[in-house]
Amino acid sequence: MGAAPASRDVTSYGMGLAAPLALFFLLFFVAPLLQLLWLSLHNDTAGLHWGLGQYLHFLTDPFSLGVLGSTLLLGAEVTAVCLVLGFPIAWLYQRVGPKLQTIIIMVVLLPLLTSVVVRTFAWIVILGRQGIINATLQSLGIIDTPLKLLYTQFGVVIALAQVQMPLMTLPLITVLGRIDPNLDDASCSLGAGSWRTFFRIVLPLSLPGVIAGCTLTYAAAITAFITQSLVGGGQMLFMPMYLYQQASTLQNWPFAAAISIIFLLAVLAVVSVFTTLGRLSRGYGGA
């Protein structure tokens, strides 16, 4: 018994080492967020009169609610596209040799580390009036006048899906790697076809990765300020730009603070739904 505390001593470090970062977060992360909350609970810009006026304003204003709704919907659409396209990449990754695996992982990884402005800029080149899609369709004689692709919901969803795809694919690759390949063979030799095996065995077992990927993709997609504003243009307004306009252009800080808090809560709600699902699925998937 005497050896146990001593051995714990050498293999672990005191919590004191976390103190500097904890203090840093308290001062520069927790305190600002608390101040944001404090300011959002005031009815006037000077922050003198307490009240829920900012929240009431947001929650009774159809325009603000519309912005919130379209932002949450955008996140759902992007996440769905990423899941449908990302899953086959992860599936393929587990079935190719090490050389191809390295190529696939690099293709997935590079965009993650390339500047978001650069990646968004690429979509302007692709979707624009003189862009690749319009140029190709026109030269093939399929269309006469250029299609409007930029500044549409379709454009924003596709661009965001490409920008956020790595966040979905990496957890999927991880979780698929942990599934025992014998299960596949067992299912097939018991007479289940490939499709059935996929939907009844592989997909349920990969749920923890699916949920991790969905959480990251969703959170990133709804806050992707640059892609939303450049590909969406002026007509489409989402929460980040709404927040920025209120804070920066209109200098309405208490309302901007209330928007931030509502946005934070919306993200937290979505993340906690995913986390709960993840906890439930862990008993199921064992990963």
């Binding site: 293999t11 672990s12 992360f29 967020l33 393929l92 997935v108 800029f121 080149v125 993200v267």
Partner: protein, 271 residues
């Protein structure tokens, strides 16, 4: 079920999966390739394919002093934020990695929360606090803001590296009479160094690319590269930005290839 029916069924499944995977991989890589090709255009527009090829926009980029200025600021802030993140993050990771106490788990969630919370809301909050305490917007406020959103990458990668460290190594070292500091320097640090470097690299890249925090915490004197690019793109579609994008894409490819050799980056992100 006959054997042929099953092979047809298996074939249809594999065909769908492989085709979708290839489409997805092309979708991921195509935009970067398109920008690279367009950046060598000899024309004045972003037309694809370009009417001809030249290096004129790279020459133009050489003279774009506003972009140089913003790039220098971004580099300065990213280096400081990364350094601060490594010092604070590695220490915190050592403390929380092997502890199963409630406080360790709470701290872990706290340190990870900037990853999922909307960074724009944090940027606004930080600006409000700094203006409340009378700290003007400066490179210092930028470094502080960037450190908050970058430190999670260092903490996460260091914790992952520590989790793979064999505790018996530390016990043997202690039994053989090494002090804790000596064990840390000679055993722990060399073994977790690739993890720390990988975390620092991702932190650096995300700081260099950060928009939501910089948006509130910079001014004209501390212009940051991604924001300069964004504002240029909002105004007009400038081909110089395509050349700059080309430079950034090539630099990223080179850095990732180097990191893959030094730290096995791809294995770390899929484990």
């Amino acid at each position: 079920m006959s054997g042929r029916k099953r092979t047809l069924e298996a074939f249809s499944f594999e065909l769908v999966m492989i085709v979708v995977a290839i489409i997805a991989l092309i979708l991921i890589i195509a935009p970067s390739l398109v920008v690279l090709i367009v950046s060598f255009t000899s024309g004045f527009s972003l037309r694809f394919p370009p009417p001809g090829y030249s290096l004129r926009w790279y020459v133009e980029l050489w003279n774009a002093w506003q972009l140089h200025f913003a790039a220098k600021n971004s580099l300065f802030v990213a280096l400081w934020a990364t350094g601060l993140s490594v010092v604070l993050g590695v220490a915190a990771a050592l403390a929380i990695s092997r502890s199963r106490t409630l406080s360790a788990r709470l701290l872990d969630s706290l340190f990870m929360s900037p990853l999922v919370l909307p960074a724009l809301a944090f940027g606004l909050a930080a600006l409000m606090l700094f203006s409340l305490v009378g700290l003007p917007v400066s490179p210092l406020t930028l470094v502080i803001g960037h450190t908050v959103v970058c430190v999670p990458y260092v903490v996460r990668n260091t914790v992952a590296a520590l989790a793979q460290l064999e505790p018996t190594l530390l016990e043997s070292s202690a039994v053989l009479g090494a002090s804790r500091l000596y064990t840390f320097r000679r055993i722990v640090l060399p073994l977790i160094r690739p993890g720390i470097i990988a975390g620092a690299f991702i932190a650096f890249m995300s700081s260099f690319d950060n928009v939501p925090v910089s948006l509130f915490l910079r001014d004209a004197a501390t212009d940051m590269l991604p924001i300069r690019m964004w504002q240029d793109l909002e105004g007009k579609l400038d081909v110089t930005i395509a050349a700059l994008s080309g430079v950034l894409i090539i630099a990223t490819v080179a850095l990732v290839a180097m990191m893959e050799r030094v730290t096995g980056l791809s294995r770390r992100l899929t484990n």
